[in-house]
Symmetry: C2
Subunit: 221 residues, 2 copies
């Protein structure tokens, strides 16, 4: 140890300093990603300022252009990060809800999805702000994230609909009705609060998840 420090003292201290610098850099990157999610969700891509993002992350505005190439590259990295968290969150809630048959499996997926979107309101806020007008960002998010999930849900619904397990409803109608019904209470949580109800409480989320299963799959069947 002392031999190491004596044989190459400069290199060793340089290495630990490098390690520290790199850890600090990773922390800055992560803080910027988290701050970006909040700001983009609250003000939209154009309304969010890089200064506000940097300030929320506890660092300086030029760090955004250093760690990411541009405001748009930061946005893409933040969205990737968010969808990865969605998958993890849905899976976590699914594991707690084992299912036996097709109907119970879809019921579990609806409950898990509802709990996940309640946990990650920023995701649907960003989606709804971007999906409102055609743009390069929308095209990117659709091909990267929306389409695979859209195809998976509509395929499942098509199968259950043919089997007569679910109501006779077109799959695109179903997709937007289900996603809209599951997400609006959390996207609009600040509004709901003003209307005198906290939609972020566990009791609301549980009642909401159960209600969606009843609405989309019926109470028994």
């Amino acid at each position: 140890m002392s031999s190491t420090t004596t044989t190459r003292p400069a290199t060793s201290t340089g290495a630990t300093a490098n390690r520290r610098r790199q850890a600090r850099a990773t922390a800055t990157r992560t803080a910027l990603l988290d701050a970006a999610l909040v700001e983009f969700a609250a003000h939209g891509f154009e309304g969010a300022s890089t200064r506000a993002i940097a300030e929320r992350a506890g660092t300086h505005q030029p760090q955004i252009n250093y760690h990411f190439d541009s405001k748009e590259a930061l946005w893409r990295a933040a969205v990737d990060h968010l969808f990865a968290r969605l998958d993890v969150t849905v899976r976590r809630h699914l594991d707690a809800l084992p299912a036996n048959n097709d109907r119970e499996r879809l019921a579990s997926e609806i409950r898990a999805f509802t709990r996940a979107v309640a946990e990650l309101p920023e995701l649907n806020r960003i989606m709804v702000q971007e999906a409102t007008i055609d743009s390069d960002r929308l095209r990117w998010i659709v091909e990267q994230h929306t389409r695979p999930r859209f195809e998976r849900l509509t395929a499942t619904w098509r199968r259950l609909r043919r089997a007569g397990t679910v109501p006779d409803i077109d799959e695109v109608v179903l997709y937007y009705s289900l996603v809209g019904a599951a997400s609006l209470a959390y996207v609009n949580a600040p509004e709901a609060r003003l209307l005198s109800h906290d939609t972020m409480s566990k009791s609301f989320i549980d009642a909401h998840a159960d209600a969606l299963v009843i609405l989309f799959l019926g109470s028994d069947r």
Copy 2:
């Protein structure tokens, strides 16, 4: 007539000129309101620029501060204008759908509401962008427009729920599930188009309205 023009020619031409100027002013105001709705819906309050709004209205940017006091005053006037159009549009669709009993009346209201939000996608786009974060604008829109409509729908649902006419679902859960299910397909219409489906077509809207009645009221009962 010719006597009028000859007895007070200056006053008369001044009066018609005034009338023309006033008509032009009203046209400018209306054009600004319509342009503001599109821009605010597409980019949010902070993302929309007064220059882009004026250009879309075919006039110049300082006209906004002349006809309205500020960007925020223009936003409020545009939102008032939009909610007034919502009421007219819902009523128009309701008249076409007479109802006999409580359940049929609510079914008609769900169908009319769905068709109205499909016709006015800007309304829910603006709502979802403002309801995402607490602000003076959100508090204003909630007290002016959201709360009365919220109270009306939840009161109706409470009554039908007590009578056993509808599924046993909490009224706040119902409110956000129904509004979300009815609006997302139109709020996110550009995304839906990229996913290969035009949700603005009459056939989609009809299928959607019927599906929501089945989902929220059951297929018969």
